[in-house]
């Protein structure tokens, strides 16, 4: 019998069980559906297809992978229309990813808002999203760039997972986060045992410790006001132009960001049909907003940096009620020239401190 503990977001009843070995859990998943697990490359992780028949080392990744998860749902480039016949999205086989972190789950929540919006649902995204089985895991030993706690995140899954795995001194705790997850655990009940109270206490302690570590790492970046307010009061700041001097317009920050979702559509001629492709784009690109005749509302690089941040923390928040940044720190790692989103926000914050109160709208 699974211990039913508490309710979490999305209204599903959850259960908590434990399992002695990670491979037992993952093999059971891989028997049913395609599974992707973290693979270490240098100091970073990416995801690779898991094959239980060969002895692949199983990594319990400490933090999120280097590559963004959006790739699984919103690929770099895909065919979205064929002329003149219509194209149906390809059948997607169910697949699972192990090792997603809270910041990854929140980035998926953001993409869901955009691509599953009622009025204009993207059928290509939807197909993949429906088939994704999420096995998240707790973080430990956070990276320098991890700053989820500044943006409402935690180093452990809060919601949006099917199963979540926490490592303990004696096996793994598996938490159920959805009906799909519960079905899985019930179907494989022989693999699991009840989670001992002592391990749950240990798990909560580890979580609190990791959270504290991230909070301490980022204490110097704390802001005086909610981030959207800091930005909205800084639209005339020179900080964006000054920071832009470090930017070489490589666009890496937007490509690697798990929440950035700009794209453009382009038409191509294939041998015997015409195709419309959808491909990632970047608001940091000079010609991104240019129109015929050369007009361009964001010709200046600093204005594009400002727009990127305003979109993430003000415009998106206004429309969807959540920030479009999860504090995963990928953009910080990716920027070899040292632009750090935390530093930019902090500079704006410092500038506001020196502004007369009357100029700072609430």
């Amino acid at each position: 019998m699974l211990g039913m503990r508490h309710q979490i977001n999305r209204g599903e009843r959850v259960g908590i069980v434990s399992i002695s070995k990670l491979s037992v859990l993952l093999n059971a998943v891989a028997e049913q559906i395609e599974l992707y697990t973290p693979k270490k490359i240098g100091n970073h992780y990416t995801f690779a297809k898991y094959d239980s028949s060969i002895e692949t080392p199983l990594h319990f990744n400490n933090v999120r992978a280097y590559t963004p998860i959006k790739d699984f749902l919103f690929p770099l480039s895909e065919l979205v229309a064929v002329f003149s016949k219509s194209v149906e999205p390809n059948e997607v086989k169910p697949f699972a990813i192990f090792g997603l972190k809270d910041c990854d789950l929140r980035s998926i929540e953001i993409l869901d808002k955009v691509f599953l919006e009622e009025e204009f649902q993207d059928p290509f995204y939807q197909r993949r999203r429906e088939k994704l089985f999420i096995i998240s895991s707790d973080c430990f030993d956070p990276a320098e760039s991890c700053c989820c706690t500044l943006f409402g995140g935690r180093p452990f899954a809060q919601s949006g997972f099917d199963l979540n795995v926490s490592k303990t001194s004696d096996g793994f705790i598996v938490e159920v986060g959805s009906n799909k997850g519960r079905d899985f655990v019930e179907k494989h009940s022989q693999l699991f045992t009840d989670a001992p109270e002592a391990l749950l206490i240990e798990r909560d302690k580890t979580r609190a410790k990791t959270q504290k570590q991230i909070e301490q790492n980022n204490s110097k970046y704390e802001l005086d006001a909610p981030v959207n307010k800091v930005l909205e009061n800084s639209t005339d700041s020179e900080v964006f132009d000054i920071e832009s001097q470090k930017c070489v317009e490589c666009q890496a920050c937007t490509r690697i960001c798990p929440t950035c979702h700009c794209f453009y559509l382009y038409d191509t001629r294939q041998k015997d049909y015409f195709a419309k492709m959808k491909m990632w784009d970047s608001c940091m690109r000079m010609a991104y907003a240019a129109v015929a005749g050369g007009a361009n509302p964001r010709k200046v690089l600093g204005d594009r940096i400002k727009h990127r941040l305003m979109h993430k923390f003000s415009y998106f928040f206004d429309r969807y009620g959540i920030d479009m940044c999860v504090g995963c720190g990928r953009c910080i790692d990716a920027d070899s020239h040292g632009m750090d989103i935390r530093v930019v926000l902090k500079k704006l914050n410092e500038e506001l401190r020196t502004k007369p109160k009357a100029e700072v709208a609430k």
Partner: protein, 273 residues
């Protein structure tokens, strides 16, 4: 299964009209029923070549066919000018909000337009005159670079002028020998005496620079920013609020616009660029 947002509807070009040296109109017949409201736009695809946003210039009341006027300005539009009668192109949409006609009821509608901006205006004009008794009057102030650059010549030089309830004035930047009308930019034919500001809405569509000065003129006349309706033109790709290209501040021009009141967007930087 949801309908595929990205799939264009095949449409046949049944007629091509040369409007001016740089603008051509295409009459197209979509293969599937296609309804739109005046001011909404479509994404037009030349298969294999490219896609760009355009506002139909015909009345939404004509549900059989649609007219689109295209100015040659760049890569895709230049190629679109090579399309021929009988050819199949694709359209997606309609997208955006269109003109809020109900807000115009009982008022004078003061329309300032220029260049290819007359395309959306033609659709609006045809819609308004279908129910002209709902409005106090329709005032048109249209401009073009030269007389030859006016589009819909037959209508603007001819029968639109004669419709009761319509007050139309035209101007050109540069006259030719036959031109007897006003010479000067479009704001030179906008006179304060012609408008009863408290009971009028202004509708402006044209090149960015014209829209800017026409807006300033309307403000000078005493219009409130909320009485001025602008059709904004921004770089677009998807047309439905996802790809990000068209953003002005928090607005997706493709979804929340393209028609905005000046009130909505006036505080954002570089809106005319």
């Amino acid at each position: 299964m949801n309908k595929n947002l990205y799939q264009p509807i095949s449409s046949e070009i049944i007629k091509i009209i040369d409007e001016s040296p740089t603008i051509r109109s295409y009459v197209i017949v979509p293969e599937e029923p296609f309804k739109f409201e005046t001011g909404q736009f479509v994404e037009l695809t030349w298969p294999g070549v490219g896609e760009a946003p355009f506002t139909p210039s015909s009345s939404p009341a004509d549900t059989e066919k649609m007219e689109i006027s295209i100015m040659k300005v760049g890569h895709v539009t230049e190629l679109l000018h090579e399309c021929e009668k009988g050819q199949k192109i694709g359209i997606r949409g309609p997208y955006g909000n269109g003109y809020p006609l109900d807000d115009f009821i009982g008022k004078h509608v003061y329309i300032v337009g220029g260049g290819v901006g007359l395309a959306p205006i033609r659709s609006l004009f045809l819609t308004l005159i279908d129910r002209i008794e709902d409005f106090k009057s329709i005032v048109c102030r249209f401009g073009a670079r030269t007389p030859d650059d006016f589009i819909y010549k037959e209508a603007v030089f001819g029968h639109w002028q004669e419709i009761e309830g319509v007050d139309m004035k035209l101007t050109v930047d540069k006259a030719d020998d036959n031109w007897k009308g006003n010479v000067g930019v479009v704001t030179t034919i906008c006179n304060e005496q012609d408008v009863d500001v408290s009971n009028t809405v202004a509708v402006i569509c044209g090149p960015p620079i014209m829209m800017k000065f026409a807006t300033l003129k309307m403000l000078e006349f005493g219009f409130k920013p909320a009485q001025i309706y602008l059709s904004m033109e921004k770089n677009m790709s998807c047309g439905f609020g996802k790809c990000g290209h068209c953003m002005i501040g928090k607005y997706y021009v493709c979804k929340d616009g393209p028609v905005f009141t000046y009130e909505q967007i006036k505080d954002y930087p570089n809106i005319w660029d």
